[in-house]
C-alpha cells in the first residue's frame, strides 16, 4: 500500500502550479506563428500591460474572445497594451483557417511542444492572463463571454493608469 501511495504522490508531483494573480509572468519564449524563425520572449514586453491569451480553432468561446481582443488591442495599443495569442492547434492549417475568418493584428505564437501552456499550467480554453507593467499577473480569465470582455476592458484601463 505504501508503494501505491508513493507512486500516486510521484505522479502528482509532476504537476506545475497554475499561474494565479500575484505570480510573476513566466519567463518563456515561443516562435511566432507566421514567422517560425522569430522567437518572441514574453518578458520583452516589460513596461507594457500584456494580455497573454491561449486560443485554438477548436475552442468555441475563442470565436468570441479573439474578435473582442482585437477590438481591445486596437483601442488600447497606443496607451501601452500588448496582446499575445498562444495558439494550441495541433495542425497549423486549422489555425490558418480560423484566422481567415477572424483576422487579428496582435502577435501570435505557436506552442507545439506545450512549453508555454505548461509554464502557465493552463486550466481551461481559452485562458487569459492580464499582466501589469511590472510583469506581475494581476487577473486571470478562464473561458470567455461578453461579460468577460467588459470586465477585461475595465481591468486593462485600471492597469494602463498604473505606473511601471
Amino acid at each position: 500500500m505504501r508503494a501505491l501511495a508513493a507512486s500516486i504522490l510521484f505522479a502528482l508531483s509532476g504537476a506545475a502550479a497554475a499561474v494565479q494573480p500575484g505570480d510573476p509572468l513566466p519567463a518563456v519564449s515561443a516562435r511566432e506563428l507566421e514567422a517560425p524563425a522569430a522567437p518572441l520572449a514574453l518578458g520583452s514586453f516589460r513596461g507594457s500591460v500584456v494580455y497573454v491569451d491561449f486560443w485554438a480553432s477548436w475552442c468555441v468561446p475563442c470565436r468570441v474572445s479573439m474578435p473582442a481582443l482585437e477590438r481591445m488591442y486596437r483601442k488600447y495599443r497606443g496607451l501601452g497594451l500588448r496582446v499575445v495569442g498562444v495558439n494550441k492547434d495541433v495542425a497549423h492549417a486549422d489555425a490558418e483557417r480560423f484566422l481567415k475568418r477572424v483576422a487579428v493584428s496582435f502577435p501570435l505564437v505557436a506552442d507545439g511542444d506545450d512549453a508555454v501552456a505548461r509554464a502557465f499550467d493552463v486550466q481551461a480554453m481559452p485562458s487569459g492572463y492580464l499582466v501589469d507593467r511590472r510583469g506581475v499577473v494581476r487577473y486571470v480569465h478562464r473561458g470567455f463571454t461578453d461579460e468577460t470582455a467588459a470586465a477585461l476592458a475595465a481591468e486593462i484601463e485600471i492597469l494602463l493608469k498604473e505606473g511601471g
Binding site: M1, W58, P61, A124
Partner: protein, 72 residues
C-alpha cells in the same frame, strides 16, 4: 502471503496508472480531430440520436455541448 499479495496489487495498480494518459485542457485539439469521433458522420449521428430520442422518449446523454474546452 497477504503482504506479498498487497505488493503485487500495488505493482499492478502502479502499472495501470502509468497507462493512463491525462489530456490537458490545451491538448483537447487531439480529441476534436474527426477521426476521434465516435461516429465519423455528424449527420448520421444526429439522425440516429433523434430517432433514438423519439423511440425511447428520452434524450441526452449522448454527448455534451461546447467545444471540449473545459471552460463551462
Amino acid at each position: 502471503m497477504r503482504i506479498g499479495a498487497a505488493w503485487i496489487l500495488a505493482a499492478v495498480a502502479a502499472l495501470l496508472a502509468g497507462g493512463c494518459a491525462p489530456v490537458a485542457p490545451y491538448q483537447r485539439g487531439y480529441l476534436a480531430r474527426p477521426d476521434m469521433a465516435l461516429e465519423e458522420n455528424a449527420g448520421t449521428a444526429k439522425a440516429l440520436e433523434k430517432t433514438f430520442a423519439a423511440k425511447e422518449a428520452a434524450s441526452g446523454g449522448a454527448s455534451v455541448g461546447g467545444g471540449g474546452c473545459g471552460c463551462n
